[in-house]
Amino acid sequence: MKAGPPNNSPQDVRLDENDPVWRLLARAPRPEPDAWFAARTLARCRHEGLGTESGVGAFIGLARMWRWALGGGLALSMALVLVVTQINSEKAENQKNVQEAFEIMASIDTDSDSSSSSSSWQDSSF
């Protein structure tokens, strides 16, 4: 460990070096990377560094927004489900009404048919 950084005041450096904690920390040195670290990093830069800064920035921006996107997506899908359910129930209601109307009309027709046939029977008796 060097005596002190060049951009620190001598007073600061003296304060550090007189502190036993500081001296003790120096006994557990910073780990060093292995001999192939630079080569591996260079290869990774070649591989991953192809994207432009703006592209990366956009991706990071999107990644940060994922929570909002997830919440928004859920809310949107819930709203969609509600609307679809509403439309379906309205449609079923309408179909039911139409069915009932047909049934009523059919029953009216049947009544009128039977009355007319009975009258014709009466007529034929003459």
Partner: protein
């Protein structure tokens, strides 16, 4: 990337003008000079990797994060503005990545602070550097020495992340208070206060070893 081999201009600046050298390397990297990128990595790999390893206590994760730092530097070379010191700028990237990693870890499962010894030895961790000194120390002394190193690393890892980064930058990277304040996005008095509290916490945690030393 174009592979240009140049050994002239600002990249071979005088030794004392380290920051200007770094900035000249960044200009060359922006132009696609792979040799400049290798120079920059070789110049800063020790500080970047060592700081991250001290911050995370995991040499394997530290390798990955340190590589990510240089990938970011490479990607940002085109838009790099040489307004601040290069070293402060690169350590701001280190800070962001390390703090993000802490947040990711706090959301995920807990990771052991110290990997198994054989793993650390293979990946260049502190345990790997601390090979037994059989020439001058007995096996018992070696064991005690390793135990002390482990306790020191544990004490550093137990500090809150801001204090930990402040102490690592100050002790191992020899940054000034102003530079640490810039990296931590804090004021100089706040940085001094962080460092004071970190030292006091370490003083208590490492009391046994301090008494031995005293």
């Amino acid at each position: 990337m174009k592979d240009r081999f140049r050994d002239d201009d600002g990249a071979r600046a005088p030794v004392g003008d380290s920051d200007a050298h770094d900035k000249a390397l960044m200009v060359r990297i922006a132009e696609g000079d792979e040799v400049a990128l290798r120079d920059l990595i070789e110049k800063h790999q020790g500080a970047v990797y060592g700081t991250i390893a001290k911050m995370l206590g995991d040499p394997v994760e530290a390798q990955d994060l340190a590589q990510q730092v240089f990938v970011r530097v490479y990607r940002a070379a085109g838009s790099y503005q040489a307004s601040a010191q290069f070293k402060t700028w690169i350590f701001t990237i280190v800070r962001n990545l390390v703090f993000n990693e802490h947040r990711r870890r706090s959301r995920a499962t807990l990771v052991p602070l110290h990997p198994p010894e054989n793993e650390a030895a293979h990946s260049g961790g502190s345990a790997g550097l601390d090979l037994p000194d059989t020439a001058t120390k007995s096996p018992g002394e070696n064991m005690l020495h390793r135990e002390m190193l482990r306790k020191i690393d544990e004490a550093i890892l137990a500090l809150p992340e801001q204090q930990r980064l402040a102490i690592v930058l100050r002790r191992y990277d020899e940054f000034s208070y102003e530079e640490i304040a810039e990296i931590l996005k804090a004021s100089v008095p706040a940085t001094k206060s962080l460092l004071f509290r970190a030292r006091e916490t370490l003083r208590v945690a490492l009391q046994d070893y301090l008494e031995e030393e005293g």
